[in-house]
Structures are given as structure tokens and as C-alpha cells.
């Protein structure tokens, strides 16, 4: 269990022009560059200047819409995006310490492909890769693949219905396949033994022979074990199904508390699932998600949000708590929620790059003054930054 008194961890959540729907219209926004490498490189390098642990990059296998379940045909919002794993890979060589947690949909995709993609991200970043796994319940996403039909979403039970349970159970199998494939090569499998002519020791390559409710995968991977052994697996959860996935499968869970008491409740919920999965002894981080609108004083921050809402034509609605205020006020809140059991936070900047810069240049120094944040990168890998050891290979003989 991570020590609750240790410095907290910070992840910046990158998505389009920011998390406010009107973000793209701000003076500093670069809405015509959202599909360029330069845009994402600048954001990642800013996050790294702030010594953040990692960035997440949002993704989905359908065009964005304000409606969480169906296309909306809006013309006043950011639409269109790039594959998040490839964005991370394009940016990783331009950074040295920052971790990358691209979102990957695990509902319609192949675990074999994603396993080698994240392993490769780990190679190109020399040990800074992870993945945030996400299920896709939308019928329109399923129609893009045409391999299974998903029923229309029942909005009253959208987070808890049987389909959701089924998709998260499938996601747990998917993550099990990712993890087994990452271990399917022992670290010293490549021997280059000129005397016998053998490049690998085949006794150190392992069939994973996974057979679950949803699919089977033989293995081994075509990609050797990545530098971290096991890249970091993260998931966001608002309900029991995803909390169970976090408890069973993840190294890092993102939850969405409304206040400190709620944070304690959500941490407890994840810990319960972790215990039920028999993983009580394993470190599992639980980070709180927040949308942040930051400014030099509280009134200015509130005014910014009001102006953005006005431009957007509606108040910002989010699954996560929307914080408006100063970096110092945010530091107060993070410290309080940390005492409730959270080990870090995933901050969703309302506007990019504005609120990201207020995190790296305002919040980070403030936290550092309080002894709550690192003064330099203390590790070269994402696992290292998160205080996670490099795990032993499940297939290796002791």
C-alpha cells in the first residue's frame, strides 16, 4: 500500500484543446494544430518541465460527441482525433522522464496487438509506458467494427447494467492477456549463443495459453519483455464494475470524488475489490480526478469558467469535480483529499495549454513548498516514479 504521507503523484489528462467544450476558442488555444505532432510535443514537454509523473491521452473508437451514448452532429465542438498510443509514441522520444498512459479501447480490439504496442511504447520511451484501458459500450462504436452488436444503452442503468458488468469482466480478461504476454519472454531469453547458433533460449519463451469466457490467446508475444517488465495499467471508474477491474487488474485507478469524505469512500471501495481479488499486498494507487480551472485569484478563476460556459452556451458538466480557484487553494484541496487516502491526482486542464501551465508553474511550486511534490525526477521509469518495483516474471523459475 502506498504511504499516504509521502509526496503525492500528479498526472495531467490531455484531451483535444482541453476539457472545457469552449477551450478551443481561447486566445492561447491551437485548434488547427490538434492533429500535429508539435502540439502534443509541446504539451508533454510542459508536463515534464513540471516534473509530473505522467500524462494520459484520451481516445475512443468513435467520433467525439457531447452525448456519451450517441453521435450529436454538433459543429461547435472539437471533433476528430489521433490514435492515443501513436501520439504517445511520437512524443516519447522528445522527453526523458515523463510517463505516458495513452487510452486504449479494450472492447473491440485485439489484446495481442495492444500488448506489443504498449511493450514497444515502453522500448521507445525506455521504460515510461503504461496504458489506460477503457471499455466501449456505445452501439455506434460497435458498428464501426461490425463484429458484435451492442444494445442501445439504458441511460438509467448506464454505469451498472449487465452489459457494463460484462464489458468490464471482459476487460479484466483482456488485461490478464496483456500481462501474460508481457511476461511471455523472460528477461534473459535472448542469448545470442554463437557456439550453438541459437539466438534465443526457447525454454525462456512461454506460451500463455489463455482461455477465458471471451477469447483465447496462445502466445508468446512477438515482442520481448519490455524494460519495465510490466508497463503500468490504469483504469478510470465511477461504479462497482470498473472498481472491480481496478482491484483485480490495475496498478493505478482513477476515481471521481466530490469531496474528502467521498474520496475516502471511493478509496475504500477500490481497496475492498483489491482485497476480494487477493491483491491486498500489492501496491495499487488510487488517484482522484479533477477538472481544473486555475487563475491568480479565486474570482478570476470563477470568471474564467463563467466566460467559458457562456461561450459554450451551457455550464460545464463533468463526471469529475470541477475545481475553480488558485493553485494554492487547489493545493489545499489535494492535501485534504490525500489525507482521505488518495495517493495522487489526475488533473484535467479545462483549457490547454493555459491550465496545464498553471499546474506546472503554479500548483507544482506550491505543492513543493509544502513538501508534497518532488524537486527532481527520482527515477527513470514510470514504475519507478510511482514507487512500483519491477515485478518478477510469472513464468520464470526461481
Amino acid at each position: 500500500m502506498p504511504d499516504p504521507s509521502s509526496p503525492l503523484h500528479l498526472v495531467a489528462a490531455l484531451d483535444g484543446a482541453g476539457w472545457h467544450p469552449a477551450a478551443w476558442r481561447e486566445p492561447g488555444a491551437r485548434p488547427t494544430e490538434l492533429l500535429t505532432a508539435g502540439y502534443w510535443t509541446d504539451l508533454a514537454q510542459e508536463a515534464e518541465r513540471g516534473l509530473l509523473d505522467a500524462v494520459t491521452i484520451e481516445d475512443a473508437l468513435n467520433l467525439q460527441s457531447d452525448d456519451p451514448f450517441t453521435p450529436d452532429d454538433r459543429t461547435d465542438r472539437v471533433r476528430g482525433r489521433l490514435d492515443a498510443v501513436l501520439v504517445a509514441s511520437r512524443v516519447a522520444p522528445t522527453t526523458r522522464h515523463l510517463g505516458f498512459l495513452p487510452t486504449a479501447v479494450v472492447t473491440h480490439t485485439e489484446p495481442f496487438h495492444l500488448s506489443k504496442a504498449i511493450a514497444t511504447l515502453d522500448y521507445v520511451s525506455t521504460g515510461r509506458a503504461g496504458v489506460r484501458v477503457q471499455v466501449a459500450a456505445r452501439p455506434d462504436t460497435a458498428a464501426n467494427f461490425g463484429r458484435r452488436e451492442l444494445p442501445p444503452v439504458d441511460r438509467s442503468t448506464a454505469a451498472t447494467g449487465p452489459l457494463v458488468t460484462e464489458l468490464f469482466d471482459e476487460a479484466a480478461e483482456y488485461v490478464e492477456v496483456l500481462r501474460r504476454l508481457w511476461d511471455s519472454w523472460e528477461d534473459d531469453a535472448e542469448i545470442r549463443d554463437a557456439a550453438t547458433g541459437r539466438f534465443v533460449d526457447v525454454d525462456k519463451l512461454h506460451y500463455i495459453d489463455f482461455a477465458g469466457q471471451n477469447f483465447s490467446v496462445r502466445g508468446p508475444s512477438i515482442t520481448p519483455r519490455p524494460p519495465q517488465g510490466q508497463p503500468v495499467v490504469a483504469a478510470l471508474g465511477h461504479a462497482e464494475g470498473p472498481w472491480r477491474l481496478i482491484g483485480r487488474s490495475a496498478d493505478l485507478g482513477f476515481v471521481t470524488p466530490t469531496d474528502a469524505a467521498d474520496a475516502a469512500r471511493l478509496v475504500a471501495a477500490v481497496r475492498t475489490e483489491q482485497a476480494a481479488a487477493g491483491r491486498s499486498e500489492e501496491p495499487v494507487h488510487v488517484f482522484g480526478d479533477l477538472v481544473v480551472v486555475l487563475d491568480d485569484d479565486a474570482t478570476a478563476a470563477a470568471d474564467r469558467l463563467a466566460r467559458l460556459d457562456d461561450v459554450a452556451g451551457a455550464p460545464l458538466r463533468s463526471d469529475a469535480h470541477v475545481f475553480t480557484g488558485t493553485p494554492a487553494q487547489l493545493a489545499d484541496l489535494l492535501a485534504e483529499w490525500q489525507r482521505a487516502g488518495l495517493t495522487g491526482f489526475r488533473l484535467r486542464p479545462a483549457v490547454l495549454p493555459d491550465d496545464l501551465e498553471r499546474i506546472t508553474r503554479g500548483l507544482v511550486p506550491e505543492l513543493r513548498r509544502r513538501g508534497l511534490f518532488r524537486t527532481g525526477y527520482e527515477a527513470d521509469t514510470l514504475r519507478g516514479l510511482l514507487g512500483l518495483t519491477r515485478p518478477a516474471n510469472r513464468y520464470a523459475h526461481a
Binding site: 492533429l35 500535429t36 459543429t75 508468446p220
Partner: protein, 455 residues
């Protein structure tokens, strides 16, 4: 008119061409190897770098094959990272049309094209084996006769997805608040026996519109597929005369698909060994061939044709007196080359006759039939030979596969490329920014190929 030569660099593959035992041979998985390889290729102003792919580790005699390099990165992911450390060179990835879905592959290529500012290319390959399919939730079995049909449908569907955004939808006007000029961009619907999909594609049109498309098969069906749908054929190197015949045949098919001769490039794979003198090059080439075909490797090659366990056979003795086992190849799995043995018994008889006539041991025979490099000589003779092949329409250029990772291309870039530049047949600097620019290919825009493929 003098033709301009196109040259590309194949990252050394997981086969016996790659001599991993050489002291200069580096990692096949660390990113530094890829970075260095790409850096050398870009310093030589080559058109593109090329990555192959295989989705299951090969097996022979029911064990993972351990004599060649084993292990490689994910194609898309490493190409995206290479886009960060290069500026102009094209990035060609081999992606299978059997173990993927069009929506996902199209968004990956469109993303790679955006992230590289227009340098992405797709070598479309097909597969049908249940052996590889065991790694995939969708399973793998596809009747062999269906594989080109599925590949055609896959490519057609991907083109529909690439073309679903015209390129003028995103206006992002901060003043008026209009992000999209079209409320329903990226609309597509494709319904056939392979793909039944409809919706909206989520990646706006990329710099090249469509990635450059490569095709590798040399069967009659493969040639038609290429003539209809590919921008480049990645073929096997051969003699000048055979190359000319292949070139004439494929280029001759283009009018049937409404295309002109310069819309499809033919670029065979080629290996090379350079020396300061012809004699030195020839000696070095022989050394390399012996390193590529060790006694153990020679037996494995023998088994692939004979389709039986020959582990007790003496590599320094004559070829086996028994004939190959005909029928499905069960000895080697995950290896496309065994399909080249269309009549194993006849081939075995040819090999035996050659071995007897030339007094060759098993290993020497295998060296002769598998290992000969495409270009052997001084930089001057290699440059002249390459130019001769291109100017005489045996190819439009070559995809060079060095045998050492990652530095094996260095000498070619330092010594052969300048000679080609002096001849005025190879660029001295990149003239455009996209791979289509380098290859002299037009931008594609919802064009006739969609129709011809569908037809």
C-alpha cells in the same frame, strides 16, 4: 529519358539474411537500433524505411525456431517513434489484413500520417493460417482462396475511411465558434461478406490523404491486386531479364485498371556486399553466406522443402536420398516461404542434380540456392548495376536489406549513393516533404481505384 532511382532501407528481418552473430550486430528491439538505422537511411536521402511483420513466432519441428533473430517491436508504434527522430524519410509498415479490422487500421495509418506530416505507407499482406490465428480473439482461419478477396475488401474499406473526410471540414474559427463546416463528417458505410460496418470515421484527412500502399505477392492474383490498388510493388530480386519480364507484365496490366505506367513503382528487395576490389567483395560475400547458412540452418532449410524431420542428416554430406513429403507443410509453421515450394519433389530433384553436377554438400547447396546476394562488388560496379536495372526497366529501384543491424547500410550510403548522385540518377536532397513526393506519386482523392477495386 534517364529514370530517377528509388532506394529504400529494409530494417533487417527475423530471417537468416540477418547475421546476428557478427560482432557489429546490435539489438533488434532497442529503439536506439531503429533510430540509428533510420538516421543512416535519411542521411543517404533514401525514400523510405521498411518494416516487415509476423504475428506469431515461427516454429519448426514443434519448437520455436531459435536460429534466426527472434522478436520485434509493434510496427505502428515504432514507426510513430521514428517520426520523432527523422524529418523526411518515409515510414513503411507491414500490416496484415487478416488479423485486423479496417476501422482500427485506417485510424492508425491516418494517425501515423498526421504525426509524420505525410510519410506513412502500408505494405498490405494477407495470411490465412490458423497457426497465427491462435494469437487472436477473432481466430485465424480464412480459406486460402478468400485471402485476396478479404485483402481487397479490407483495402477498399480502408480507402473509403481515408476518403470519408474530404479535408475541408475542420475550420476551427474561434470568432464564429464554428469548428466543423460539416455536422456529420467522416460518414461511411461498407457492406460485403467480409465487413459490415457503418458510422463516422474519427480521424480527419491526413496530409497524404491515403498512405502509400505496397503489395508484395507475385502470383497472378497478386499482380492484379497490385495493378488495381497498389502504389508500389515490393517484389523479389531476380536477373535483369526476369526483372524486365515482371516489370513489363505488371506495368502492362495498369491500363486495364485505368492507370498509367508511372502510377505503380516496382521495387524488389535486394541484398548487397561491398568490397574495395571485386575479389574482396566476392570473398566477403561468401563469408557472409556461410554465416547466414550455418550447418544447423542448412538442415532447417532442407526440412522446410522435405517437410520431414532431417535432424540426423549430415550437412556436410550429400542431399537426402528420400523424397519430400508432399501435401500440407507440417514441419515449419509461420513461415511464408514454404509456400514458394509449389512442387517440392521436383525441386528436390533439381537440387540433387545440381549438387551432384557441382559436387556440393548439403550446406553448400543450400548456400547456392538461398544465399546469393543481389549486388556484390565495388561501390562503382554496384552503382552501375543498380542503374542498369532501373534504366533497362527491370525495376524502379530497390529496397535494400543489409545483413547487419543497425549499421549495415552505412557503407552503401557513404560509397554507393554518392556515385548514383554523380550519375544524376538519385536525389542529392529531398525535394518534397511527403513520401508521395519522394516517390513521385500523385495525391489520391476518392479516385478511380475505389471503383476498380469494388468492381
Amino acid at each position: 529519358m534517364t529514370k530517377q532511382i528509388h532506394l529504400a532501407a529494409h530494417f533487417p528481418g527475423v530471417n537468416n539474411t540477418t547475421v546476428w552473430s557478427d560482432p557489429e550486430s546490435g539489438s533488434h528491439i532497442e529503439f536506439d537500433s531503429f533510430r540509428e538505422f533510420a538516421r543512416i537511411a535519411e542521411a543517404g536521402k533514401l525514400d523510405f524505411i521498411f518494416l516487415a511483420e509476423g504475428l506469431r513466432l515461427r516454429e519448426q519441428n514443434d519448437r520455436i525456431y531459435d536460429l534466426d533473430v527472434v522478436g520485434r517491436p509493434d510496427t505502428f508504434t515504432v514507426l510513430a517513434a521514428l517520426a520523432a527522430v527523422t524529418e523526411r524519410i518515409g515510414l513503411t509498415g507491414t500490416i496484415n489484413s487478416t488479423f485486423n479490422e479496417p476501422y482500427e487500421v485506417a485510424r492508425q495509418f491516418a494517425s501515423l500520417d498526421h504525426l509524420s506530416a505525410g510519410r506513412a505507407a502500408w505494405n498490405v499482406v494477407t495470411s490465412w493460417d490458423a497457426f497465427t490465428g491462435e494469437n487472436f480473439r477473432r481466430g485465424g482461419f480464412l480459406a486460402q482462396v478468400d485471402r485476396y478477396d478479404r485483402a481487397k475488401s479490407f483495402l477498399q474499406t480502408a480507402h473509403e475511411l481515408f476518403d470519408s473526410w474530404r479535408g475541408d471540414e475542420v475550420v476551427a474559427d474561434k470568432e464564429t465558434g464554428t469548428f466543423l463546416a460539416d455536422p456529420h463528417p467522416g460518414a461511411f458505410a461498407h457492406h460485403d461478406r467480409f465487413f459490415d460496418i457503418a458510422g463516422q470515421f474519427d480521424v480527419p484527412r491526413s496530409p497524404q490523404g491515403r498512405p502509400v500502399v505496397f503489395q508484395a505477392g507475385d502470383s497472378d492474383e497478386g499482380r492484379d491486386f497490385a495493378a488495381a490498388a497498389a502504389d508500389v510493388i515490393f517484389s523479389r530480386h531476380s536477373t535483369l531479364e526476369a526483372g524486365q519480364a515482371f516489370y513489363a507484365d505488371v506495368k502492362g496490366r495498369l491500363p486495364r485498371f485505368g492507370r498509367t505506367r508511372d502510377e505503380l513503382l516496382i521495387m524488389p528487395a535486394a541484398t548487397f556486399v561491398l568490397g574495395d576490389t571485386e575479389v574482396e567483395a566476392a570473398e566477403l560475400a561468401q563469408e557472409v553466406r556461410l554465416a547466414q547458412v550455418s550447418p544447423a540452418t542448412a538442415i532447417k532449410f532442407l526440412e522446410q522443402l522435405w517437410n520431414r524431420d532431417l535432424s540426423d542428416h549430415d550437412p556436410d554430406g550429400p542431399l537426402p536420398s528420400v523424397d519430400p513429403v508432399v501435401g500440407e507443410n507440417t514441419i515449419a509453421r509461420g513461415r511464408a516461404s514454404v509456400r514458394m515450394h509449389r512442387d517440392p519433389v521436383a525441386t528436390a530433384h533439381e537440387w540433387r542434380a545440381k549438387a551432384e553436377a557441382e559436387h556440393l554438400t548439403t550446406r553448400e547447396l543450400i548456400v547456392e540456392v538461398t544465399g546469393r546476394q543481389s549486388f556484390i562488388g565495388t561501390p562503382a560496379t554496384v552503382a552501375a548495376t543498380i542503374d542498369e536495372f532501373v534504366q533497362n526497366d527491370a525495376s524502379d529501384g530497390f529496397v535494400l536489406a543489409p545483413h547487419i543491424t543497425p549499421g549495415g547500410l552505412g557503407r552503401f550510403v557513404e560509397q554507393v549513393v554518392p556515385l548514383l548522385q554523380e550519375r544524376g540518377v538519385f536525389r542529392t536532397d529531398y525535394e518534397g516533404t511527403t513520401l508521395r513526393d519522394h516517390l513521385g506519386l500523385p495525391l489520391r482523392d476518392g479516385d478511380h481505384r475505389s471503383r476498380t477495386l469494388a468492381g
